[in-house]
Amino acid sequence: MPIDMYKTQRYYHHKDFRKHSHFHAGKGVATEGKKRGAREIKIVRKVLDVNDAIAQQNRDMFAEKDVFVVNVMSSPGSGKTAILEKTLSHIMQDVRSAVIVGDICTSNDADRLAVSGAPVVQVNTDAFGGDCHLAAHVIKTAVDNFNLDEIDLLIIENLGNLVCPAEFDMGENLRVVVLSVTEGEDKPLKYPLMFRVCHAALLNKIDLLPHLDYDRNAAVQNIHKVNPQMPIFEISAKTEEGFDSWIEWLMQKIHG
């Protein structure tokens, strides 16, 4: 019984006052006195400032080389790779594109995207339960594989995860979140940070709508509750329905 176990652990933890280091925020922890002889040293530093500093270096490098960078994020299985395959086939004529693909393991997505002719670099965070997101230093290293003078657009396909990637700036210009109609309509409410930090949402797999009970109005409303001004493109990576407006919007952003 997992719930009982959880309670038991908590109870045990409370009894073990010598290791009294658990979470009591809002219940007086902040007012506890310092231990005898302790000296408080103010730091006030962002835990992720190392990542943020590298992200800024990336951003400066991309600006210098005139490369527009898009970070695409979603939960697993929402169709990121299929969308990028089709997107590349639309824009490769006009925009010199490259892709960095993040996965915990395998190079399957990179193999699919390489068919487009774009240079593709696969980043595997770890073959056995590795990192759940791409971070700025990973991009900085991966970019060494490209000649940035020959690239106008760099697309980063992040790991399938709606939580952590939202927290890690990589120096990108644009963040796009993909949501598919086979997921819950309430995903934006469950992962608000992701829908706050992104500039647009792609609602994918709309070709499946006739076969589903999906309430797309509810999904759109939920996205707009979290981010009222977010553009939403309803698309199908299978039939390419809705791609014209998505590509047009993307091209506008690239050409600024």
């Binding site: 925020a25 000296r39 408080e40 190392v50 939580v163 707009h224 009222p228």
Partner: protein, 122 residues
């Protein structure tokens, strides 16, 4: 999901912040602010912290997390409110132009250091 990496980063920052004049310093407490919108689960961070501090000057340290509520401000009418549901629309003028004032923190505020050479053992 990335709490272990964050715990290791906290340990690194804390050790780097020990003043140079303390030769045998022990960190007793790390005070952290975590916004409700930050992608961090306090319980997971505590668990990872206990592992990350092993064999470091923080091995007895407590991690104190102050959770920071999400506060938003309307860019149009400038009203400010605490966000309890994930809805970022101004309740006063219905504007969708809303900025987040707080709630994304993941900041080390301070550490509490004991110099074991100058302090009587408990």
């Amino acid at each position: 999901m990335h709490e272990m990496g964050i715990a290791m980063q906290i340990v690194e920052i804390a050790i780097a912040s020990i003043p140079g004049d303390l030769e045998n310093a022990r960190i007793d407490r790390v005070n952290l602010k975590v916004g409700k919108l930050a992608a961090v689960v306090p319980e997971s961070l505590h668990f990872c912290f206990q592992i990350a501090v092993q064999d470091t000057p923080l091995h007895h340290a407590d991690l104190h997390i102050e959770e920071i509520p999400v506060v938003a401000r309307c860019a149009d009418c400038h009203v400010q409110w605490t966000v309890r549901e994930p809805v970022f629309k101004c309740g006063q003028c219905s504007s969708g132009s809303v900025e987040i004032i707080s709630g994304r923190e993941l900041d080390i505020i301070s550490i509490e250091v004991v110099d074991e050479d100058t302090t009587d053992a408990d």
